[in-house]
Amino acid sequence: MHKKTAFSFPDEVLEHVFSFIQSDKDRNSVSMVCKSWYEIERWCRRKVFVGNCYAVSPRMVIKRFPEIRSIELKGKPHFADFNLVPDGWGGYVFPWIVEMAGAVPWLEEIKLKRMVVTDESLELIAKSFKNFKALVLSSCEGFSTDGLAAIAASCKNLKELDLRDCDVDDLSGHLLSHFPDTYTSLVSLNISCLGSDEVSFSTLERLVCRCTNLRTLRLNRAVPLDKIANILRRAPQLVDFGTGTYAADLRPDSYSDLAGAFSSCKELRSLSGFWDVVPDYLPAIYPVCSKLTSLNLSYATIQSPELIKLVSHCPNLQRLLVLDYIEDSGLEVLASSCKNLQELRVFPSDPFGVEPNVSLTEQGLVAVSSGCPKLQSVLYFCRRMSNEALVTVAKNCPNFTRFRLCIIEPRTADYQTLEPLDVGFGAIVQYCKDLQRLSLSGLLTDRVFEYIGTYAKKLEMLSVAFAGDSDLGLHHVLSGCESLRKLEIRDCPFGDKALLANAAKLETMRSLWMSSCAVSFRACKLLGQKMPRLNVEVIDERGPPDSRPESCPVDKLYIYRTVAGSRFDMPPFVWTMEDDPSLQLS
């Protein structure tokens, strides 16, 4: 007979309490307290995040959480962004949609990153989920505007359609015309990645007019500047706006029209787009600059003086994405004007040029680190760096959570001392105790990995390229970085030893990517055999790895933990190293 204790609340009470717990980590902890909490929790979990779509099967997820309303899935490894993962590798969402269509008809939200989404999947979504509200596709591919049209036409309660950096097959869109005339629930629309497809402006204007809750609107490059004013006037409540092409023949009436339209948007906090900018039209946005918190000028090919003027108008800026046209001088102005800056990303305007085309060096980064006390997240492309600068930056910004530095030429040494940049990055991990994400570049020896293994205890994601001397480097990272979840390595002399010695570590991580390194096929097989809860996948376009000697390094290696076993959808150039229980070592 069960004795009710003082801690035994009715399920409904516990459920109510749990409903305040939103974070996945906390939910997972709650579910591990005891069996009854596990049961209660799983029935009331509404959101699931699956960081690797192959780590678990859709059936398993739905079986455990039958009442979810929102699912987030990630597919391909991060290096797929840079064309290191061949086409056809995987990451198909269709099997997930099929499972959920049957079992979770009340699903409201699907968020996907780096997955292959077909029109068939989109049509199935449109058909299956009557209360569907939000579709966020980030860096996805495989679908066309036809699939999107199905969503627009069928999902009466759709609030959010967000296509971030997707590769969409543009089939004479008219996407917007598929939203019925009675449809008014749109809150967020991001079509910035749609090609140069013609957008029907009257359709867009009518849509914007009737969707009075619209807060985010990011247009694509095809929308010309002279159409923006009309749209803004119809949606003065916009918070986040992305322009299309920001170029037109300069005419006084169209300029004042635009400026007037911008000033009517009192809630505007974020701007983006700005393709093909004509500098003379930029001051049209000055009325909203003082309240702007986020500005994405990373497509704006304007020079430093214009950028400086613009940035000086935005004292409340928290997030800035910009091309290196801003130069050191512009970053110095940023440092003195934008004291609330939290995130900075500087992209290269001429990434493949041999000579620097702009005067952007380590000085700009140092200036921002010195002037912006709240700076937490940096992505910086440049052509030279010094240990001195990195140490200064580290000391100025102990609150960094994300630091990604890309010195464009691989293996570039400290330009002042010609030494490796080990000490500089060492300072970053030493001073920035909360660092979660780090990308390295420049000339680096095993020493930098020693520093990382010693100090980077909160590091969750590390990206390494053209660095290190030996397996010791990899060993330092795998044995020292306690919080490591994702490790991606390319073109480093890391081989079998460190990997095999730290096999157990790999089960505590989401995934490991190694390409153009020195890991032998033999080691991959061993790892696959010994670690049944890891999928060890060899990607090699040269042909089957067993057609070469075992000691031959594999081209690419992707290792991830999973409870779903080997996947079934591998293309011909991916081999999974099977586990073999009969080969257990004594």
């Binding site: 041999v354 890309c406 061993l526």
Partner: protein, 190 residues
């Protein structure tokens, strides 16, 4: 390094076979190793591309660096949006002013129209009715009182022909054909 001594990876290495068996199997494998061209050892790739560079004709511009796949790490849509801008510039032409000492007015030419220095110089010779001397790296233009020069991005006066063609057209702001004694200073041997 102290670390290496403290650390004996072999002991912890997972391997098939009884403890104590050496790396014989590895040695056997290495003798039959076939080195494929596509082996992705970074150093080998670099060496082969450097060798290729050296084989190139000295007269033409050195080839642009062999682009490494996926480096620098920039998303393709960013690359594409920058490239579209570049091709627009290309279709617009790269017009620079050309002056000749003593000539009453300047001319303008489109640097994009020429594939290299020989064509450019020939066009200038025809336009201004003069002849340049023979170019050598050591002596500049030898045999004529006319010397082709240009002003680069930094505002410096440079001798035409010293840098690779691509680099030249990207940094040339205007051309100037110098004449006479002033030209001598720039390495014109008459």
């Amino acid at each position: 390094m102290a670390f290496e001594k403290d650390f004996n990876l072999d002991v912890t290495e997972l391997r098939l076979g009884l403890p104590g068996t050496s790396e014989e199997s590895e040695k056997q494998a290495s003798t039959t190793l076939r080195i494929s061209n596509k082996r992705a050892m970074p150093d080998m790739n670099e060496d082969s591309s450097v060798a290729a560079d050296k084989k190139c004709d000295q007269e033409t511009a050195p080839p642009t660096k062999a682009q490494v796949v996926g480096w620098p790490p920039i998303r393709s849509y960013r690359k594409n949006s920058l490239q579209t801008k570049k091709t627009e510039a290309e279709t617009c032409g790269m017009y620079v002013k050309v002056s000749m000492d003593g000539a009453p007015y300047l001319r303008k030419i489109d640097l994009k129209m020429y594939k290299g220095y020989p064509e450019l110089l020939k066009a200038l010779e025809e336009m201004f009715k003069f002849k340049v001397g023979k170019y050598s790296e050591r002596e500049g233009y030898n045999g004529s009182e006319f010397v082709p020069t240009y002003e680069d991005k930094d505002g410096d006066l440079m001798l035409v022909g010293d840098v690779p063609w691509e680099m030249f057209i990207n940094s040339c702001k205007r051309l100037r054909i110098m004449k006479g004694s002033e030209a001598r200073g720039l390495g014109c041997v008459v």
